[in-house]
C-alpha cells in the first residue's frame, strides 16, 4: 500500500482523472448558482469530445479542435437554456433528453463520418506542458509538470471562477438570481439573461472537459467516452458546496479514487470498493453529514418575470 501511495504516478493520474470532473463541476457551479440544474453537462461533454476530434482532424490543429468543441458545446447549452429558462420545461428531463441524444448522435456521426474503424490515429492532440524549473523537483515535479495544457488551464479557471463568482459584481448578481430571482428582479436585474449566462458558462466548461477527454488525454473518440463524468461532476459540485474550490477538491477526491483503483489491479482491497466510496460520500453529504449542503435557494425552479 505504501508503495502505491508513494508512487508519483498515482498522484499525477489523480490530477488527470480529476480534470474531466472538475471542469464540468465548475461549469455546473455557474449554472446552479444562477438557478438552473444542468444535468445535460454529460451530453455536452460527449458532443464536445466528438467535435474536438472532428475539427482537429479537419483543420490539422488541436487548438482549432478545442475551439470547435467549445462552439458546439455552447450551442447545445444555449438550446438547453432556451428550453429550460424561457420555455420553463422540466430541467431534469430536458437534461436527460440531451444526454441520450448526445450519446446517439455522437456515435452515429462517428460511424457515418469515420466509419467503423474509429477516429483517425493521426488526430492532433493538445500538448502537454513541461514547466522548466519545477519538473526537476523530485516527486512533486513529476506530478506538477508534464500535464496536459488543459490541466493548467483548469487551475487558472478555478481561481478565475472563484474570483468571478465571489468578488465581482456580475458574480454577485448571478448568485442573487439563483437565491431569490424575485428580489433580483426588483433590483432591476435581468434574471433570464443571467440564467442564460450561467448555463452558457456550464456549457463552455463542460466542452473544455469533453475536449480534454478526446484530444487532451488521448487523441480519439469512442462511443460514450464521457462515461457518466457529467453526472459525477454534479455530485462533486454538491459535495463541494457549489463553490469552485470545493468542486475542485471533490473532483480530486473522485479522481483519486479512480486513480487508486487503477493501481490496485490485483490487490486484496478490491478496486471496486474504492470506486464506490466517492458516491457513498456524496449521498452522505447530501443527507447533511458534515454540515448541511445547501443549494442555491431557487435552484431548479423556473422563473417567469412579472408584468
Amino acid at each position: 500500500m505504501k508503495e502505491i501511495l508513494l508512487n508519483p504516478q498515482l498522484w499525477s493520474a489523480t490530477l488527470a482523472m480529476a480534470t474531466p470532473l472538475a471542469l464540468p463541476a465548475l461549469g455546473g457551479t455557474f449554472s446552479e448558482r444562477s438557478g438552473v440544474v444542468n444535468i445535460a453537462m454529460e451530453g455536452i461533454m460527449l458532443i464536445a469530445a466528438f467535435f474536438a476530434v472532428l475539427f482537429a482532424h479537419l483543420t490539422g490543429s488541436a487548438w482549432l479542435g478545442l475551439l470547435g468543441a467549445i462552439v458546439v458545446g455552447m450551442i447545445v447549452a444555449v438550446i438547453f437554456a432556451w428550453a429550460a429558462v424561457t420555455l420553463t420545461a422540466d430541467q431534469v428531463i430536458l437534461g436527460m433528453a440531451i444526454n441520450i441524444f448526445a450519446s446517439g448522435f455522437t456515435a452515429y456521426l462517428l460511424n457515418t463520418i469515420f466509419g467503423f474503424s474509429g477516429t483517425p490515429t493521426d488526430t492532433p492532440m493538445l500538448p502537454n506542458i513541461n514547466i522548466p524549473v519545477i519538473k526537476n523537483i523530485p516527486f512533486i515535479g513529476q506530478i506538477l509538470s508534464g500535464n496536459s495544457v488543459i490541466v493548467y488551464l483548469m487551475i487558472i479557471l478555478i481561481f478565475a471562477s472563484n474570483y468571478f463568482l465571489f468578488h465581482t459584481n456580475l458574480g454577485l448578481r448571478i448568485r442573487a438570481v439563483g437565491e431569490n430571482p424575485e428580489a433580483a428582479e426588483t433590483a432591476g436585474i435581468n434574471v433570464i439573461k443571467l440564467r442564460y449566462l450561467g448555463v452558457a458558462l456550464s456549457g463552455l466548461f463542460s466542452a473544455i472537459g469533453g475536449a480534454y477527454l478526446s484530444i487532451g488525454l488521448l487523441n480519439s473518440f469512442s462511443t460514450d467516452m464521457s462515461s457518466g463524468r457529467g453526472y459525477i461532476a454534479l455530485a462533486a459540485m454538491i459535495f463541494g458546496k457549489w463553490t469552485p474550490f470545493g468542486s475542485f477538491g471533490a473532483a480530486l477526491l473522485f479522481g483519486f479514487a479512480t486513480a487508486l483503483s487503477m493501481q490496485l489491479q490485483n490487490s486484496a482491497i478490491s478496486k471496486n470498493i474504492i470506486m464506490m466510496l466517492p458516491y457513498i460520500l456524496t449521498v452522505l453529504a447530501l443527507v447533511g453529514v458534515g454540515g448541511k449542503s445547501v443549494s442555491p435557494a431557487a435552484d431548479g425552479v423556473p422563473y417567469t418575470p412579472k408584468k
Binding site: I39, A83, L87, T88, A89, D90, V92, I93, L94, M96, A97, I98, N99, I100, F101, A102, S103, G104, F105, T106, A107, Y108, L109, L110, N111, T112, I113, T223, S227, G228, Y231, I232, L234, A235, I238, S270, N272, I273, M275, M276, Y279, I280, T282, V283, L286, V287, G288
Partner: protein
C-alpha cells in the same frame, strides 16, 4: 375515448417530430431515410423471430418503466432505476445458482421476490428516507446508489464471491429450476413477457384502484392539499421510491432468469435510463408504459437490423429517443408554435 386521444396526441406528435428530424439528419449524412426506417421496421416486426426479440426486449423496459412511472406519479425522479435493476439481478442470480433441489415453482418465485425486496430497499431506504426527511434530491441520491450497485456487482464478479471458477468475470449459471423458459426457440422471448404484462396490470390496479395508489398520486400532484387532507406525506415518499425500486429489481431478476441465466460483468444494462424515457413518453400511465416500451424495444431491435442491412448506424435510435423526450419535455414548444401561428394569422387578417 376523446380524453384518451387528447392525452396521447402530444406524445405522438413528439415521436413524429423526432422521426422527421432523424430523417433530416440521415439525409444530411447521405442516407435514405425511407429505406432506413423501412429496415428499422422490418428489424423490429418483420419476421416472427424479430417480433419475439422485440417483445423480449420490451420485457425489462416495461417492468423498469413501471417502476419509474410509479415514482414520477408521486412527483419523484427515480433516475437510479438502473442500480435497483442491478441489485435485483445480483440477488436473483445468487439465489439462482446457490440453491439446488428446489422445484421451479418455489425457486423462481423465491428469486423474484427476493430481488424485488432488494430493489425496493435500494430505492426506498437511502434515497427514500433521505428525501422524505432531509429533502435530499432523489435525482442525485438514486444516481449515486446506481453507481454503488454497479461497482458492487463488479466487485462480486471480478475475482469476488460471486465469480465462477475460471478467469471470466461472470457468475455461475443459474440452476435449471430457476430458469424462466423461452417461448419461442432461438429467440430471447421468455415467459417473462407474461410477468411484464401482469406487472402492468397490477400497477394499474394499484395506482388507480387502491388506497395506496390514491395517496401516492395525491402526494405527487399536490403535497399541500394532501397534508391538509390528513395524509402522511413523508411516508408516501418513502413508499413510492421503495415501490419504484421493487419493480426495477424485478426487471433485473426477470432478465437474469429468463434471458441471461447468469450475471455478466458490464457497465450498463441499457435499460435503466431507457426506462425513464419509456415512462415519460407514456405519461406514467401503466398501460401506456407497455406501448411505450414496445416502441423503444422496437427501436432497439430494429436499429440493430438497420445497421446490418441499411448500413445506418444503430445509434440513430438513441438520437430519435433523445429528440422524442426533448419534445415531450418541452411540449410548450408546441404551444409557442401554435401561438406564433395564431399571431401571424391575426396580422394577416388585420392587414
Amino acid at each position: 375515448m376523446k380524453k384518451l386521444l387528447k392525452s396521447i396526441y402530444m406524445p405522438i406528435l413528439a415521436v413524429i417530430i423526432a422521426i422527421i428530424i432523424g430523417s433530416i439528419i440521415m439525409l444530411v449524412t447521405g442516407f435514405n431515410p425511407l429505406s432506413a426506417y423501412a429496415s428499422l421496421f422490418i428489424g423490429a416486426f418483420g419476421t416472427l423471430p424479430n417480433i419475439a426479440n422485440t417483445l423480449a426486449n420490451a420485457v425489462p423496459l416495461i417492468i423498469t418503466g413501471l417502476g419509474v412511472a410509479i415514482a414520477f406519479d408521486a412527483g419523484l425522479f427515480n433516475i437510479g432505476a438502473e442500480g435497483q435493476y442491478w441489485i435485483g439481478a445480483i440477488v436473483a442470480t445468487w439465489i439462482g445458482y446457490s440453491f439446488k433441489g428446489l422445484p421451479w415453482y418455489i425457486h423462481i418465485p423465491f428469486a423474484l421476490i427476493a430481488a424485488m425486496i432488494a430493489g425496493g430497499l435500494w430505492g426506498g431506504i437511502v434515497p427514500g428516507f433521505a428525501k422524505a426527511y432531509t429533502g435530499a434530491h432523489e435525482v442525485i441520491t438514486t444516481m449515486m446508489m446506481s453507481y454503488v450497485a454497479i461497482y458492487f456487482s463488479h466487485y462480486l464478479l471480478e475475482f469476488g464471491p460471486m465469480m465462477e471458477k475460471g478467469s471470466v468475470p461472470q457468475s455461475p449459471l443459474i440452476k435449471d429450476s430457476a430458469v424462466i423458459p423461452t417461448i419461442l426457440r432461438n429467440t430471447q422471448l421468455s415467459y417473462g413477457i407474461f410477468i411484464a404484462i401482469a406487472a402492468a396490470l397490477f400497477v394499474y390496479w394499484l395506482m388507480y384502484k387502491t388506497v395506496w395508489g390514491y395517496e401516492m398520486r395525491a402526494v405527487g400532484f399536490n403535497q399541500r392539499a394532501s397534508k391538509y387532507a390528513g395524509m402522511n406525506v413523508p411516508l408516501n415518499i418513502v413508499l413510492s421510491l421503495s415501490l419504484s425500486g421493487i419493480f426495477a429489481g424485478l426487471a433485473g431478476a426477470v432478465q437474469i432468469l429468463g434471458v441471461q441465466h447468469r450475471l455478466y460483468d458490464s457497465f450498463t444494462s441499457g435499460y435503466g435510463y431507457t426506462a425513464i424515457v419509456v415512462a415519460l413518453l407514456a405519461k406514467n400511465n401503466p398501460i401506456g408504459v407497455v406501448f411505450s416500451a414496445l416502441l423503444f424495444a422496437a427501436l432497439g431491435t430494429g436499429s440493430q437490423y438497420m445497421q446490418l442491412n441499411a448500413q445506418v448506424p444503430g445509434q440513430l435510435a438513441d438520437v430519435i429517443t433523445g429528440l422524442i423526450i426533448f419534445f415531450v419535455a418541452a411540449d410548450k414548444i408546441i404551444e409557442v408554435l401554435k401561438s406564433m401561428f395564431k399571431k401571424q394569422k391575426k396580422e394577416e387578417l388585420a392587414s
